[in-house]
Protein backbone atom coordinates (compact mmCIF):
# COMPACT_ATOMS: atom_id res chain seq x y z
CA UNK A 1 0.00 0.00 0.00
CA UNK A 2 1.22 3.50 -0.71
CA UNK A 3 2.53 5.49 2.22
CA UNK A 4 0.98 8.84 1.37
CA UNK A 5 -2.44 7.22 0.93
CA UNK A 6 -2.24 5.68 4.40
CA UNK A 7 -0.93 8.82 6.11
CA UNK A 8 -3.46 10.96 4.29
CA UNK A 9 -6.37 8.67 5.04
CA UNK A 10 -5.37 8.50 8.73
CA UNK A 11 -5.08 12.30 9.10
CA UNK A 12 -8.32 12.94 7.24
CA UNK A 13 -10.06 10.30 9.34
CA UNK A 14 -8.89 11.92 12.61
CA UNK A 15 -10.21 15.33 11.53
CA UNK A 16 -13.47 13.83 10.32
CA UNK A 17 -13.94 11.92 13.58
CA UNK A 18 -13.28 15.07 15.61
CA UNK A 19 -16.07 16.75 13.70
CA UNK A 20 -18.46 13.81 14.00
CA UNK A 21 -17.79 13.22 17.71
CA UNK A 22 -18.34 16.92 18.42
CA UNK A 23 -21.98 16.46 17.45
CA UNK A 24 -22.49 14.22 20.49
CA UNK A 25 -19.71 15.08 22.87
CA UNK A 26 -17.00 17.67 23.51
CA UNK A 27 -14.76 17.86 26.60
CA UNK A 28 -16.45 21.13 27.61
CA UNK A 29 -19.24 23.24 26.23
CA UNK A 30 -17.38 25.28 23.62
CA UNK A 31 -19.47 28.38 24.24
CA UNK A 32 -19.20 28.59 28.05
CA UNK A 33 -17.06 31.54 29.15
CA UNK A 34 -14.83 31.12 32.17
CA UNK A 35 -12.89 34.38 32.46
CA UNK A 36 -10.84 33.49 35.60
CA UNK A 37 -9.56 30.44 33.77
CA UNK A 38 -8.45 32.33 30.65
CA UNK A 39 -5.39 31.79 28.48
CA UNK A 40 -4.27 28.62 30.20
CA UNK A 41 -1.60 26.51 28.61
CA UNK A 42 -2.48 22.93 27.69
CA UNK A 43 -2.99 20.80 30.80
CA UNK A 44 -4.63 17.57 31.85
CA UNK A 45 -7.96 19.34 32.36
CA UNK A 46 -7.79 21.42 29.21
CA UNK A 47 -5.86 19.34 26.66
CA UNK A 48 -5.21 22.29 24.41
CA UNK A 49 -5.55 25.06 27.00
CA UNK A 50 -8.16 27.83 27.12
CA UNK A 51 -8.63 31.04 25.14
CA UNK A 52 -8.92 34.66 26.25
CA UNK A 53 -12.48 34.05 27.48
CA UNK A 54 -11.49 30.82 29.24
CA UNK A 55 -13.24 28.63 26.68
CA UNK A 56 -11.83 25.12 26.16
CA UNK A 57 -9.76 25.21 22.96
CA UNK A 58 -9.99 21.45 22.31
CA UNK A 59 -13.78 21.68 22.24
CA UNK A 60 -13.66 24.73 19.96
CA UNK A 61 -11.27 22.95 17.59
CA UNK A 62 -13.62 19.97 17.40
CA UNK A 63 -16.65 22.11 16.63
CA UNK A 64 -14.54 24.23 14.27
CA UNK A 65 -13.65 21.07 12.34
CA UNK A 66 -17.38 20.58 11.83
CA UNK A 67 -17.72 24.08 10.39
CA UNK A 68 -14.70 23.71 8.11
CA UNK A 69 -15.67 20.28 6.83
CA UNK A 70 -19.30 21.13 6.20
CA UNK A 71 -18.48 24.37 4.37
CA UNK A 72 -15.77 22.74 2.24
CA UNK A 73 -17.81 19.61 1.55
CA UNK A 74 -20.95 21.46 0.47
CA UNK A 75 -18.80 23.74 -1.70
CA UNK A 76 -17.29 20.67 -3.40
CA UNK A 77 -20.82 19.35 -3.87
CA UNK A 78 -21.89 22.59 -5.57
CA UNK A 79 -18.84 22.44 -7.82
CA UNK A 80 -19.53 18.83 -8.77
CA UNK A 81 -23.26 19.16 -9.35
CA UNK A 82 -22.95 22.22 -11.57
CA UNK A 83 -19.45 21.83 -12.97
CA UNK A 84 -19.46 18.19 -14.08
CA UNK A 85 -22.54 18.38 -16.33
CA UNK A 86 -21.20 21.61 -17.83
CA UNK A 87 -17.86 19.93 -18.54
CA UNK A 88 -19.57 16.89 -20.06
CA UNK A 89 -21.73 19.07 -22.30
CA UNK A 90 -18.78 21.23 -23.38
CA UNK A 91 -16.78 18.13 -24.31
CA UNK A 92 -19.68 16.41 -26.08
CA UNK A 93 -20.22 19.48 -28.27
CA UNK A 94 -16.53 20.33 -28.56
CA UNK A 95 -15.91 23.37 -30.73
CA UNK A 96 -19.56 24.39 -30.88
CA UNK A 97 -20.99 27.71 -29.72
CA UNK A 98 -22.30 25.96 -26.61
CA UNK A 99 -18.80 24.76 -25.72
CA UNK A 100 -17.43 28.24 -26.34
CA UNK A 101 -20.13 29.79 -24.17
CA UNK A 102 -19.55 27.40 -21.27
CA UNK A 103 -15.80 27.81 -21.36
CA UNK A 104 -15.94 31.61 -21.61
CA UNK A 105 -18.33 31.67 -18.65
CA UNK A 106 -15.83 29.50 -16.79
CA UNK A 107 -13.02 31.91 -17.56
CA UNK A 108 -15.17 34.73 -16.28
CA UNK A 109 -15.79 32.97 -12.97
CA UNK A 110 -12.05 32.27 -12.73
CA UNK A 111 -11.51 36.03 -12.76
CA UNK A 112 -13.42 36.23 -9.46
CA UNK A 113 -11.34 34.61 -6.70
CA UNK A 114 -13.58 33.24 -3.94
CA UNK A 115 -12.57 36.08 -1.63
CA UNK A 116 -13.88 38.61 -4.12
CA UNK A 117 -17.12 36.68 -4.55
CA UNK A 118 -17.43 36.60 -0.77
CA UNK A 119 -16.84 40.35 -0.57
CA UNK A 120 -19.56 40.95 -3.15
CA UNK A 121 -22.07 38.65 -1.47
CA UNK A 122 -21.31 40.00 1.98
CA UNK A 123 -21.70 43.56 0.75
CA UNK A 124 -25.20 42.66 -0.35
CA UNK A 125 -26.39 40.11 2.20
CA UNK A 126 -24.16 40.62 5.23
CA UNK A 127 -21.66 38.07 6.54
CA UNK A 128 -22.54 34.41 7.24
CA UNK A 129 -21.20 30.88 6.84
CA UNK A 130 -23.60 30.39 3.94
CA UNK A 131 -21.79 33.17 2.07
CA UNK A 132 -18.56 31.26 2.47
CA UNK A 133 -20.18 28.12 1.07
CA UNK A 134 -21.61 29.99 -1.92
CA UNK A 135 -18.37 31.85 -2.61
CA UNK A 136 -16.19 28.72 -2.45
CA UNK A 137 -18.82 26.65 -4.27
CA UNK A 138 -19.02 29.10 -7.17
CA UNK A 139 -15.25 29.09 -7.45
CA UNK A 140 -15.28 25.26 -7.57
CA UNK A 141 -17.65 25.18 -10.56
CA UNK A 142 -15.14 26.10 -13.28
CA UNK A 143 -12.51 23.88 -11.67
CA UNK A 144 -14.67 20.78 -12.00
CA UNK A 145 -15.98 21.85 -15.39
CA UNK A 146 -12.45 22.13 -16.74
CA UNK A 147 -11.25 18.84 -15.27
CA UNK A 148 -14.31 17.05 -16.61
CA UNK A 149 -14.02 18.61 -20.03
CA UNK A 150 -10.30 17.86 -20.29
CA UNK A 151 -10.75 14.23 -19.33
CA UNK A 152 -13.84 13.83 -21.49
CA UNK A 153 -12.23 15.36 -24.59
CA UNK A 154 -9.44 12.79 -24.44
CA UNK A 155 -12.05 10.04 -24.12
CA UNK A 156 -14.16 11.27 -27.04
CA UNK A 157 -11.11 10.69 -29.25
CA UNK A 158 -11.00 7.03 -28.27
CA UNK A 159 -12.25 4.35 -30.62
CA UNK A 160 -14.63 2.83 -28.09
CA UNK A 161 -16.68 6.02 -28.21
CA UNK A 162 -16.81 5.69 -31.97
CA UNK A 163 -17.94 2.08 -31.50
CA UNK A 164 -20.74 3.27 -29.23
CA UNK A 165 -21.76 5.85 -31.84
CA UNK A 166 -21.79 3.14 -34.48
CA UNK A 167 -24.15 1.22 -32.18
CA UNK A 168 -26.41 4.29 -32.41
CA UNK A 169 -26.05 5.51 -28.84
CA UNK A 170 -26.97 9.12 -28.20
CA UNK A 171 -24.60 11.75 -26.86
CA UNK A 172 -26.35 11.64 -23.50
CA UNK A 173 -26.08 7.85 -23.25
CA UNK A 174 -22.42 7.92 -24.21
CA UNK A 175 -21.69 10.68 -21.73
CA UNK A 176 -23.33 8.76 -18.88
CA UNK A 177 -22.24 5.25 -19.76
CA UNK A 178 -18.76 5.71 -21.19
CA UNK A 179 -17.43 9.16 -20.32
CA UNK A 180 -18.55 9.73 -16.73
CA UNK A 181 -17.27 6.42 -15.27
CA UNK A 182 -13.91 7.01 -16.93
CA UNK A 183 -13.50 10.58 -15.60
CA UNK A 184 -14.66 9.55 -12.11
CA UNK A 185 -11.05 8.95 -11.04
CA UNK A 186 -10.05 12.44 -12.06
CA UNK A 187 -13.04 13.91 -10.25
CA UNK A 188 -12.31 11.97 -7.07
CA UNK A 189 -8.73 13.26 -6.99
CA UNK A 190 -9.77 16.82 -7.84
CA UNK A 191 -12.53 16.56 -5.25
CA UNK A 192 -10.07 15.89 -2.43
CA UNK A 193 -7.88 18.78 -3.63
CA UNK A 194 -10.84 21.18 -3.74
CA UNK A 195 -11.96 19.90 -0.36
CA UNK A 196 -8.61 20.85 1.16
CA UNK A 197 -8.58 24.19 -0.68
CA UNK A 198 -12.09 24.76 0.65
CA UNK A 199 -10.88 24.31 4.23
CA UNK A 200 -8.12 26.85 3.58
CA UNK A 201 -10.49 29.29 1.94
CA UNK A 202 -13.09 28.96 4.72
CA UNK A 203 -10.39 29.70 7.30
CA UNK A 204 -9.31 32.78 5.32
CA UNK A 205 -12.87 34.05 4.93
CA UNK A 206 -13.76 33.64 8.60
CA UNK A 207 -10.42 35.20 9.54
CA UNK A 208 -11.42 38.44 7.80
CA UNK A 209 -14.97 38.17 9.14
CA UNK A 210 -16.72 37.12 5.93
CA UNK A 211 -17.41 33.55 7.02
CA UNK A 212 -19.01 31.86 10.02
CA UNK A 213 -20.23 34.37 12.60
CA UNK A 214 -20.08 34.15 16.41
CA UNK A 215 -20.98 32.12 18.35
CA UNK A 216 -20.23 29.36 15.77
CA UNK A 217 -16.59 28.47 16.36
CA UNK A 218 -14.37 28.35 13.30
CA UNK A 219 -10.64 27.93 12.96
CA UNK A 220 -10.21 31.12 10.99
CA UNK A 221 -12.00 33.26 13.58
CA UNK A 222 -10.06 31.64 16.41
CA UNK A 223 -6.94 32.85 14.64
CA UNK A 224 -8.35 36.34 14.19
CA UNK A 225 -9.14 36.47 17.92
CA UNK A 226 -5.66 35.21 18.78
CA UNK A 227 -3.91 37.79 16.65
CA UNK A 228 -3.69 40.58 19.17
CA UNK A 229 -2.49 38.15 21.83
CA UNK A 230 0.06 36.34 19.74
CA UNK A 231 2.96 37.64 21.86
CA UNK A 232 1.23 36.80 25.17
CA UNK A 233 -0.25 33.41 24.38
CA UNK A 234 1.22 31.94 21.18
CA UNK A 235 -0.66 28.68 21.64
CA UNK A 236 -3.92 30.46 20.81
CA UNK A 237 -2.54 31.07 17.32
CA UNK A 238 -0.54 27.86 16.97
CA UNK A 239 -3.26 25.33 17.73
CA UNK A 240 -5.94 26.34 15.18
CA UNK A 241 -3.16 26.83 12.59
CA UNK A 242 -1.86 23.33 13.19
CA UNK A 243 -5.40 21.98 12.95
CA UNK A 244 -5.78 23.61 9.51
CA UNK A 245 -2.37 22.42 8.33
CA UNK A 246 -2.95 18.83 9.43
CA UNK A 247 -6.36 18.57 7.77
CA UNK A 248 -5.17 20.14 4.51
CA UNK A 249 -2.00 18.07 4.54
CA UNK A 250 -3.99 14.91 5.20
CA UNK A 251 -6.44 15.56 2.38
CA UNK A 252 -3.67 16.46 -0.07
CA UNK A 253 -1.71 13.33 0.78
CA UNK A 254 -4.88 11.31 0.41
CA UNK A 255 -5.54 12.89 -2.99
CA UNK A 256 -1.96 12.23 -4.17
CA UNK A 257 -2.20 8.65 -2.98
CA UNK A 258 -5.52 8.18 -4.76
CA UNK A 259 -4.10 9.60 -7.96
CA UNK A 260 -1.20 7.15 -7.87
CA UNK A 261 -3.45 4.20 -7.15
CA UNK A 262 -6.11 5.12 -9.72
CA UNK A 263 -3.84 6.26 -12.53
CA UNK A 264 -3.97 3.44 -15.10
CA UNK A 265 -0.60 4.52 -16.49
CA UNK A 266 1.05 3.92 -13.12
CA UNK A 267 -1.03 0.88 -12.32
CA UNK A 268 0.06 -1.03 -15.39
CA UNK A 269 3.74 -1.07 -14.40
Amino acid sequence: MRRNLVIGAALSFVVLMAAVVSLAWTPYDHSVLNIPNRMQLPSFEHWLGTDHFGRDIASMIMVGARTSISVALIAVGIGLIVGVPLGLIAAAYDGSMLDELIMRANDLIFAFPSLIIAILITAVLGPSAVNAIIAIGIFNIPVFARVTRGGALALWEQDFILAARVAGKSTLQISCEHILPNVANLLLVQGTIQFSLGILAEAGLSYVGLGAQPPTPSWGRMLADAQTMVGLAPHLALIPGIAIILSVLGLNQFGDGLRDVLDPKLRKS
Binding site: F112, L115, A123, G204, V230, I245
Partner: protein, 315 residues
Protein backbone atom coordinates in the same frame (compact mmCIF):
# COMPACT_ATOMS: atom_id res chain seq x y z
CA UNK B 1 -0.07 36.49 -35.00
CA UNK B 2 -2.10 39.63 -35.69
CA UNK B 3 -5.30 37.59 -35.83
CA UNK B 4 -4.35 35.93 -32.56
CA UNK B 5 -3.85 39.33 -30.97
CA UNK B 6 -7.16 40.65 -32.27
CA UNK B 7 -9.00 37.56 -31.06
CA UNK B 8 -7.48 37.92 -27.61
CA UNK B 9 -8.30 41.63 -27.50
CA UNK B 10 -11.92 40.96 -28.42
CA UNK B 11 -12.24 38.30 -25.77
CA UNK B 12 -10.56 40.63 -23.27
CA UNK B 13 -13.19 43.27 -24.01
CA UNK B 14 -16.04 40.76 -23.71
CA UNK B 15 -14.72 39.48 -20.38
CA UNK B 16 -14.47 43.00 -19.00
CA UNK B 17 -17.99 43.89 -20.07
CA UNK B 18 -19.41 40.65 -18.68
CA UNK B 19 -17.54 41.06 -15.40
CA UNK B 20 -18.69 44.64 -14.99
CA UNK B 21 -22.29 43.61 -15.67
CA UNK B 22 -22.13 40.87 -13.05
CA UNK B 23 -20.66 43.21 -10.45
CA UNK B 24 -23.13 45.98 -11.25
CA UNK B 25 -26.14 43.67 -11.07
CA UNK B 26 -25.05 42.07 -7.80
CA UNK B 27 -24.55 45.44 -6.14
CA UNK B 28 -27.85 46.56 -7.66
CA UNK B 29 -29.85 43.93 -5.75
CA UNK B 30 -28.43 45.12 -2.42
CA UNK B 31 -31.26 46.32 -0.19
CA UNK B 32 -31.44 49.94 0.93
CA UNK B 33 -31.11 53.32 -0.69
CA UNK B 34 -27.62 54.82 -0.50
CA UNK B 35 -28.91 58.39 -0.35
CA UNK B 36 -31.25 57.55 2.50
CA UNK B 37 -28.39 55.71 4.21
CA UNK B 38 -26.04 58.71 3.92
CA UNK B 39 -28.52 61.20 5.26
CA UNK B 40 -29.97 59.07 8.02
CA UNK B 41 -33.57 57.95 8.59
CA UNK B 42 -34.81 61.38 9.61
CA UNK B 43 -33.85 63.19 6.43
CA UNK B 44 -36.45 65.14 4.46
CA UNK B 45 -37.66 63.37 1.28
CA UNK B 46 -36.66 66.46 -0.77
CA UNK B 47 -33.08 66.32 0.55
CA UNK B 48 -32.88 62.63 -0.24
CA UNK B 49 -34.18 63.27 -3.77
CA UNK B 50 -31.66 66.07 -4.26
CA UNK B 51 -28.80 63.84 -3.12
CA UNK B 52 -30.05 61.05 -5.33
CA UNK B 53 -29.91 63.26 -8.36
CA UNK B 54 -26.49 64.56 -7.31
CA UNK B 55 -25.22 60.96 -7.09
CA UNK B 56 -26.85 60.11 -10.40
CA UNK B 57 -29.15 57.53 -8.80
CA UNK B 58 -32.42 58.94 -10.14
CA UNK B 59 -31.99 57.65 -13.68
CA UNK B 60 -32.95 54.17 -14.98
CA UNK B 61 -30.75 51.18 -14.21
CA UNK B 62 -29.18 50.89 -17.68
CA UNK B 63 -28.33 54.56 -17.86
CA UNK B 64 -26.66 54.22 -14.48
CA UNK B 65 -24.65 51.23 -15.76
CA UNK B 66 -23.47 53.19 -18.79
CA UNK B 67 -22.67 56.21 -16.66
CA UNK B 68 -20.66 54.00 -14.31
CA UNK B 69 -18.74 52.35 -17.17
CA UNK B 70 -18.07 55.56 -19.07
CA UNK B 71 -17.03 57.23 -15.82
CA UNK B 72 -14.52 54.48 -15.09
CA UNK B 73 -13.07 54.76 -18.60
CA UNK B 74 -12.05 58.36 -17.79
CA UNK B 75 -10.98 57.52 -14.24
CA UNK B 76 -14.16 58.63 -12.47
CA UNK B 77 -15.31 55.92 -10.07
CA UNK B 78 -17.99 58.02 -8.44
CA UNK B 79 -18.16 59.60 -4.99
CA UNK B 80 -17.90 57.69 -1.75
CA UNK B 81 -21.21 57.58 0.11
CA UNK B 82 -19.54 57.92 3.51
CA UNK B 83 -16.56 60.18 2.88
CA UNK B 84 -18.03 62.28 0.07
CA UNK B 85 -14.64 62.14 -1.66
CA UNK B 86 -13.95 60.78 -5.15
CA UNK B 87 -13.50 56.99 -4.96
CA UNK B 88 -10.59 57.13 -7.39
CA UNK B 89 -8.46 59.07 -4.90
CA UNK B 90 -9.17 56.60 -2.11
CA UNK B 91 -8.31 53.69 -4.40
CA UNK B 92 -5.11 55.16 -5.80
CA UNK B 93 -3.75 55.66 -2.26
CA UNK B 94 -4.45 52.06 -1.38
CA UNK B 95 -3.29 50.69 -4.70
CA UNK B 96 0.17 52.09 -3.97
CA UNK B 97 0.38 49.46 -1.23
CA UNK B 98 -1.59 46.53 -2.67
CA UNK B 99 -0.09 46.33 -6.16
CA UNK B 100 3.55 46.52 -5.04
CA UNK B 101 2.77 43.87 -2.43
CA UNK B 102 1.32 41.48 -5.02
CA UNK B 103 4.16 42.16 -7.46
CA UNK B 104 6.80 41.70 -4.75
CA UNK B 105 5.20 38.42 -3.68
CA UNK B 106 5.00 37.19 -7.27
CA UNK B 107 8.69 37.99 -7.75
CA UNK B 108 9.64 36.18 -4.53
CA UNK B 109 7.53 33.14 -5.27
CA UNK B 110 8.96 32.85 -8.79
CA UNK B 111 12.52 33.28 -7.51
CA UNK B 112 11.98 30.52 -4.97
CA UNK B 113 9.88 28.17 -7.08
CA UNK B 114 11.95 28.01 -10.27
CA UNK B 115 15.19 26.76 -8.73
CA UNK B 116 13.27 24.46 -6.40
CA UNK B 117 11.31 22.95 -9.29
CA UNK B 118 14.39 22.54 -11.48
CA UNK B 119 16.37 20.94 -8.64
CA UNK B 120 13.55 18.54 -7.85
CA UNK B 121 13.07 17.52 -11.49
CA UNK B 122 16.76 17.10 -12.24
CA UNK B 123 17.24 15.00 -9.11
CA UNK B 124 14.02 13.08 -9.65
CA UNK B 125 13.62 10.27 -7.13
CA UNK B 126 16.65 11.34 -5.11
CA UNK B 127 17.14 13.25 -1.88
CA UNK B 128 16.87 16.77 -3.31
CA UNK B 129 13.58 15.90 -4.97
CA UNK B 130 12.18 14.35 -1.79
CA UNK B 131 13.19 17.40 0.26
CA UNK B 132 11.50 19.80 -2.16
CA UNK B 133 8.38 17.63 -2.28
CA UNK B 134 8.03 17.49 1.51
CA UNK B 135 8.61 21.21 1.81
CA UNK B 136 6.01 21.98 -0.84
CA UNK B 137 3.46 19.66 0.78
CA UNK B 138 3.67 21.79 3.90
CA UNK B 139 3.84 25.00 1.91
CA UNK B 140 0.51 24.22 0.25
CA UNK B 141 -1.14 23.24 3.54
CA UNK B 142 -0.15 26.37 5.47
CA UNK B 143 -2.69 29.22 5.37
CA UNK B 144 -0.83 32.37 4.38
CA UNK B 145 -2.40 34.57 7.06
CA UNK B 146 -1.39 32.07 9.78
CA UNK B 147 2.10 31.96 8.35
CA UNK B 148 2.07 35.75 8.48
CA UNK B 149 1.15 35.68 12.17
CA UNK B 150 3.98 33.27 12.90
CA UNK B 151 6.41 35.48 10.96
CA UNK B 152 5.29 38.45 13.05
CA UNK B 153 5.77 36.39 16.20
CA UNK B 154 9.29 35.38 15.20
CA UNK B 155 10.72 38.36 13.37
CA UNK B 156 8.86 41.30 14.74
CA UNK B 157 8.06 40.33 18.32
CA UNK B 158 10.98 38.14 19.32
CA UNK B 159 13.70 39.20 16.87
CA UNK B 160 12.85 42.76 15.93
CA UNK B 161 14.19 42.77 12.36
CA UNK B 162 10.92 44.02 10.93
CA UNK B 163 8.05 46.05 12.22
CA UNK B 164 5.02 44.07 13.32
CA UNK B 165 2.74 46.00 11.05
CA UNK B 166 1.82 49.24 9.39
CA UNK B 167 3.30 50.82 6.32
CA UNK B 168 5.80 53.67 6.42
CA UNK B 169 4.69 55.05 3.07
CA UNK B 170 6.68 55.49 -0.12
CA UNK B 171 7.58 59.07 0.78
CA UNK B 172 10.05 57.67 3.32
CA UNK B 173 12.03 56.29 0.43
CA UNK B 174 11.86 53.22 -1.79
CA UNK B 175 13.85 50.89 0.45
CA UNK B 176 11.94 51.84 3.56
CA UNK B 177 8.75 50.96 1.72
CA UNK B 178 10.18 47.68 0.48
CA UNK B 179 11.38 46.89 4.00
CA UNK B 180 7.95 47.28 5.51
CA UNK B 181 6.40 45.13 2.75
CA UNK B 182 8.97 42.35 3.09
CA UNK B 183 7.32 40.23 5.79
CA UNK B 184 3.87 40.45 4.17
CA UNK B 185 5.36 39.57 0.80
CA UNK B 186 7.17 36.54 2.22
CA UNK B 187 3.98 35.38 3.93
CA UNK B 188 2.10 35.70 0.64
CA UNK B 189 4.83 34.24 -1.52
CA UNK B 190 5.88 31.05 0.24
CA UNK B 191 2.62 29.08 -0.03
CA UNK B 192 2.28 30.19 -3.67
CA UNK B 193 5.91 29.23 -4.31
CA UNK B 194 5.11 25.73 -3.09
CA UNK B 195 2.37 25.35 -5.71
CA UNK B 196 4.50 26.87 -8.45
CA UNK B 197 7.48 24.65 -7.62
CA UNK B 198 5.32 21.55 -7.89
CA UNK B 199 3.91 22.62 -11.24
CA UNK B 200 7.40 23.46 -12.48
CA UNK B 201 8.66 20.06 -11.35
CA UNK B 202 5.88 18.00 -12.88
CA UNK B 203 5.99 20.00 -16.09
CA UNK B 204 9.75 19.44 -16.38
CA UNK B 205 9.40 15.74 -15.57
CA UNK B 206 6.87 15.39 -18.35
CA UNK B 207 9.17 17.15 -20.79
CA UNK B 208 12.11 14.97 -19.73
CA UNK B 209 10.23 11.95 -21.10
CA UNK B 210 9.63 13.52 -24.50
CA UNK B 211 11.27 12.10 -27.60
CA UNK B 212 13.06 15.31 -28.46
CA UNK B 213 14.94 15.21 -25.18
CA UNK B 214 16.34 11.84 -26.27
CA UNK B 215 17.30 13.38 -29.62
CA UNK B 216 19.19 16.06 -27.72
CA UNK B 217 20.98 13.45 -25.61
CA UNK B 218 21.90 11.53 -28.74
CA UNK B 219 23.55 14.70 -30.06
CA UNK B 220 25.98 14.57 -27.17
CA UNK B 221 24.37 17.06 -24.80
CA UNK B 222 24.71 16.24 -21.12
CA UNK B 223 21.65 15.69 -18.94
CA UNK B 224 22.02 19.18 -17.52
CA UNK B 225 22.50 20.87 -20.91
CA UNK B 226 19.46 19.04 -22.26
CA UNK B 227 17.39 20.25 -19.37
CA UNK B 228 18.42 23.88 -19.73
CA UNK B 229 18.52 24.18 -23.52
CA UNK B 230 15.57 22.03 -24.49
CA UNK B 231 13.55 21.29 -21.37
CA UNK B 232 13.09 24.61 -19.67
CA UNK B 233 11.39 26.62 -22.37
CA UNK B 234 8.95 23.83 -23.15
CA UNK B 235 8.23 23.30 -19.47
CA UNK B 236 7.57 27.01 -18.98
CA UNK B 237 4.51 26.95 -21.22
CA UNK B 238 2.17 25.31 -18.64
CA UNK B 239 3.91 27.16 -15.82
CA UNK B 240 2.88 30.47 -17.39
CA UNK B 241 -0.79 29.62 -16.84
CA UNK B 242 -0.16 29.03 -13.18
CA UNK B 243 1.73 32.31 -12.83
CA UNK B 244 -1.27 34.10 -14.33
CA UNK B 245 -3.66 32.36 -11.94
CA UNK B 246 -1.32 33.06 -9.06
CA UNK B 247 -1.46 36.77 -9.59
CA UNK B 248 -5.18 36.72 -8.94
CA UNK B 249 -4.63 34.65 -5.81
CA UNK B 250 -1.91 37.04 -4.69
CA UNK B 251 -4.20 40.02 -5.16
CA UNK B 252 -6.96 38.29 -3.18
CA UNK B 253 -4.55 36.84 -0.62
CA UNK B 254 -3.03 40.27 -0.20
CA UNK B 255 -6.37 41.54 1.04
CA UNK B 256 -6.20 39.02 3.89
CA UNK B 257 -2.51 39.53 4.62
CA UNK B 258 -3.07 43.29 4.86
CA UNK B 259 -5.31 42.56 7.85
CA UNK B 260 -2.48 40.72 9.64
CA UNK B 261 0.01 43.53 9.13
CA UNK B 262 -2.42 46.45 9.44
CA UNK B 263 -1.43 47.65 5.98
CA UNK B 264 -3.49 50.51 4.51
CA UNK B 265 -4.25 48.63 1.29
CA UNK B 266 -7.33 47.83 -0.75
CA UNK B 267 -8.29 45.16 1.78
CA UNK B 268 -8.74 47.61 4.61
CA UNK B 269 -10.59 49.97 2.31
CA UNK B 270 -13.04 47.33 1.15
CA UNK B 271 -13.76 45.96 4.63
CA UNK B 272 -14.39 49.46 5.98
CA UNK B 273 -16.65 50.11 3.01
CA UNK B 274 -18.60 46.91 3.66
CA UNK B 275 -19.20 47.75 7.30
CA UNK B 276 -20.27 51.31 6.46
CA UNK B 277 -22.33 50.02 3.50
CA UNK B 278 -20.40 52.27 1.14
CA UNK B 279 -21.35 50.08 -1.81
CA UNK B 280 -19.94 52.32 -4.51
CA UNK B 281 -16.47 51.82 -3.03
CA UNK B 282 -16.96 48.04 -2.81
CA UNK B 283 -18.14 48.04 -6.40
CA UNK B 284 -15.15 50.03 -7.59
CA UNK B 285 -12.58 47.96 -5.68
CA UNK B 286 -14.05 44.66 -6.85
CA UNK B 287 -14.17 45.90 -10.44
CA UNK B 288 -10.57 47.03 -10.22
CA UNK B 289 -9.38 43.69 -8.81
CA UNK B 290 -11.26 41.73 -11.45
CA UNK B 291 -9.89 44.09 -14.12
CA UNK B 292 -6.33 43.38 -12.97
CA UNK B 293 -6.93 39.62 -12.98
CA UNK B 294 -8.42 39.65 -16.48
CA UNK B 295 -5.65 41.85 -17.88
CA UNK B 296 -2.95 39.66 -16.32
CA UNK B 297 -4.51 36.60 -17.92
CA UNK B 298 -4.59 38.43 -21.24
CA UNK B 299 -0.87 39.12 -20.87
CA UNK B 300 -0.28 35.45 -20.08
CA UNK B 301 -2.05 34.55 -23.32
CA UNK B 302 0.31 36.83 -25.20
CA UNK B 303 3.31 35.34 -23.41
CA UNK B 304 2.09 31.93 -24.54
CA UNK B 305 2.32 32.97 -28.14
CA UNK B 306 5.85 34.22 -27.63
CA UNK B 307 6.93 31.02 -25.88
CA UNK B 308 5.25 28.61 -28.26
CA UNK B 309 5.75 29.06 -32.01
CA UNK B 310 2.98 26.53 -32.76
CA UNK B 311 0.46 28.95 -31.28
CA UNK B 312 1.99 31.91 -33.08
CA UNK B 313 1.56 30.32 -36.48
CA UNK B 314 -1.88 28.92 -35.83
CA UNK B 315 -3.23 32.43 -36.39
Amino acid sequence: MLLYLIKRLVSLGCSLVAASLVIFLVIEVAPGDPAQFMLGVNAEPETVAALKSELGLDVPKWTRYFNWISGMLVGDFGTSYTYRTPVIEMILDRLAVSLPLAGYALLLSTLIAFPAGVIAASRHGRLGDAAVMVATQFGIAIPNFWFAMILVLIFAVNLPFFSAGGFVGWDKGFWAGVHSLTLPAIALALPQAAILARVMRSSLLEILNQDFMRTARAKGLSQRQTLWRHGLRNALIPVLTIIGLQFSFLIAGGIIIEQVFFLPGLGRLVFQAISSRDLIVVEAVVMLLVFVVIVVNFLVDLAYAIADPRLRHRT
